[in-house]
């Protein structure tokens, strides 16, 4: 009666809870001379991985469960990040290089006289938080609404999501957009008055990210376990049949897409204060593709597979780009090819499956290679 899924849930939430306690202790309470000390560099790196895990969760929801291969989710991630970045820029205030209390440095540099209207309100943290959710949601709603209503599916949808993120990247590169052009935002000072260079602030950010990931995970789990979640899986397997049963397929796809975009936006908002920079390269098409690889490696349609994949692949990336920087892209490509060919269910598929008896216990079942992505 404990399918892989339930064990996966327990392990994942357990590890998150443990790291939310252990990581701060190892960083703050253990002296730097001890072998057990966790450097602030590692702490930030872990926080970054958790943000990526949340992004992977968003992609698994839409791709693994909904069968919609979005190759543009980094766009929602970056938009969430930009919204947070705008708050952090306003928070700098007169401490900028030019000392202008209202205008961020790049605007002074570009000789702008007043703040563009869309920057109003970003001096308030809550406005930024609202935008972190709202901007990705509205974009996903409009874009998804048009795409799903026109019944754009499969590879065509993947291509237009790539086009979306690419178009946004080009737009954000322009200085006239008012988002700092190719330099984006950086040199952040503090968040809610707490110095971003302080270890303690970073610990809090890490714990916040771990909590956000756990909540996001539980929300995704609740969604896929609901009847709506079963409708979404049914759409993935036989869309027209679902339509004949009287479900409005477009609206199911749309709401899951919007929710997934919001998760990605939150991940981006948590990422920016930890890495200290956001620029248009976050919209790069390759970023969205990488997320799909994380999910494929971990095992799609399981949620915890996405988290596992994001953590492992990003750890590998950190290692390889340090040790053999020129090898990384080849390794990533090879990884994707190998997983697709030999491990269609990802690493999670390697876990032994116990006897299933519950009515809902079927997902997490290794699928035959023949039922791969549509």
């Amino acid at each position: 009666m404990t399918p892989v899924r339930e064990r996966g849930d327990r392990v994942l939430l357990g590890v998150l809870a443990a790291s939310a306690i252990l990581v701060p202790v190892l960083n703050q309470a253990v002296p730097a001379s001890s072998a057990w000390h966790l450097s602030t560099y590692s702490l930030t790196l872990l926080g970054k991985y958790l943000c990526f895990a949340l992004l992977a969760l968003a992609v698994d929801l839409i791709w693994g469960y909904g069968g919609i291969l979005s190759l543009g989710h980094a766009a929602f991630f970056a938009l969430g990040g930009y919204a947070m970045g705008m708050y952090l820029m306003r928070e700098i205030g007169p401490r900028g290089v030019y000392g202008n209390p209202i205008l961020p440095d790049f605007m002074v540099f570009l000789n702008w006289q007043k703040l563009p209207w869309f920057w109003y309100g970003f001096n308030h943290f809550w406005v930024a938080l609202l935008m972190v959710v709202l901007v990705p949601a509205v974009l996903a709603f409009v874009f998804g609404g048009l795409a799903f209503r026109s019944r754009v599916t499969g590879v065509y949808l993947s291509i237009i999501t790539q086009a979306l993120t690419y178009a946004l990247m080009l737009a954000f590169f322009r200085n006239d957009m008012g988002f700092g052009g190719n330099n984006g935002f950086t040199d952040f000072k503090d968040i809610l008055g707490f110095d971003l260079h302080e270890d303690r602030t970073r610990v809090v950010l890490f714990v916040t990210t771990a909590i956000a990931l756990a909540l996001g995970y539980l929300a995704c789990r609740a969604l896929v376990d609901s009847r709506a979640g079963r409708v979404i899986r049914a759409i993935r397997d036989a869309e027209s049949r679902v339509r004949f049963l009287g479900y409005r397929v477009e609206s199911y796809k749309l709401w899951v897409f919007v929710f997934s975009a919001v998760l990605a936006g939150i991940a981006g908002a948590l990422y920016v204060p930890q890495v200290g920079i956001i620029n248009p390269s976050e919209f790069a098409p390759i970023n969205s593709i990488e997320v799909v690889i994380w999910v494929a490696v971990g095992g799609r349609g399981t949620l915890f597979g996405a988290v596992l994949g994001a953590l492992l692949v990003n750890y590998a990336k950190t290692y390889f780009t340090g040790a053999f920087p020129e090898v990384w892209l080849y390794a990533l490509g090879a990884l994707f090819v190998l997983v697709t060919l030999f491990l269609p269910t990802g690493l999670v598929g390697l876990l032994p499956e116990r006897r299933r008896t519950g009515p809902l216990a079927i997902e997490g079942t290794p699928l035959p290679a023949a039922q791969k992505a549509k």
Partner: protein, 259 residues
């Protein structure tokens, strides 16, 4: 003509045909798939439709379920519902269920979940996000499971069922919606003899409460389930009547049975 109400005197409700098609014409690139087709199905009737390939059987089903729009004609359901004005989901909601030739069940959901998704009721995203199975709904699913003979396999994934079982599951999914009219496309194609017999029993047991339109090639099967048979040819009705009688019709022998 046999009035089904004489056969099934317990059928209540408004009189008049459950489905009435008039002068339906569908043209694909100059080819007339349906040519002024006129057809009526009575309440509680089990009607079989036969005809050679390209006779317009599937196109007729497509029109009734809203997948194809005719250039001309009318399609009235339950004497007061204009099917040509409704979308596919609206037609399903109105009470017409369709079973395709190829079984399409949700392979990676369980048999039980397949039936659950087919429950009658509110189908919006929000409603299904918070939906919980009521006792009555669970009983309804159990009941359908026993009608289609899959009670034992309720927690199996639909993908693991045999071909015949998938067909029954799909019929069960239609029944969950408590449709007034069932359209069934070649239910016994590819079935074993035993499965065919079991399917015949199932369909006969359904006609008391539902009206059924069955498209089928297998003449023996048709004779075993239907009193009344309609033969389509080149988009029109070629012959119509009792199975035995239709089988003797020289025109039918000419275009279909003799071939």
């Amino acid at each position: 003509m046999i009035d089904p109400r004489l056969e099934n005197p317990w059928i209540e409700g408004p009189k008049g045909p459950i489905l009435s098609l008039r002068d339906l014409t569908v043209t694909f690139d100059g080819f007339k798939a349906l040519d002024a087709l006129t057809l009526e199905v009575e309440r509680g009737e089990l009607r079989c439709i036969i005809g050679p390939n390209g006779a317009g059987k599937t196109t007729m089903m497509d029109v009734v379920t809203g997948k194809t729009r005719p250039q001309h004609g009318s399609a009235i359901f339950r004497t007061d519902i204009d099917l040509l004005a409704l979308s596919e989901p609206e037609i399903a909601q109105a009470g017409i269920g369709r079973k395709f030739q190829k079984p399409t069940v949700f392979e990676r959901l369980t048999v039980f979940e397949n039936l659950e998704l087919s429950l009658w009721g509110e189908k919006s995203f929000r409603a299904s996000l918070f939906a919980r199975l009521k006792k009555s709904q669970r009983d309804h699913i159990d009941n359908i499971l026993s009608v289609i003979g899959l009670s034992e396999r309720r927690y199996a994934s639909a993908g693991s069922l045999s071909h015949g079982q998938k067909q029954w599951l799909e019929i069960g999914m239609l029944l969950m919606q408590e449709p007034d009219l069932l359209l069934i496309d070649e239910p016994v194609a590819g079935m074993t003899q035993q499965e065919t017999e079991r399917t015949a029993e199932l369909l006969i047991s359904l006609k008391a409460e539902h009206s059924l339109v069955v498209v089928e090639h297998d003449m023996d099967f048709v004779r075993s389930i239907a009193k009344r048979v309609t033969v389509l040819h080149e988009g029109r009705v070629l012959a119509d009547g009792e199975a035995e009688q239709v089988q003797q019709d020289p025109r039918v022998i000419d275009v279909y049975l003799g071939a």
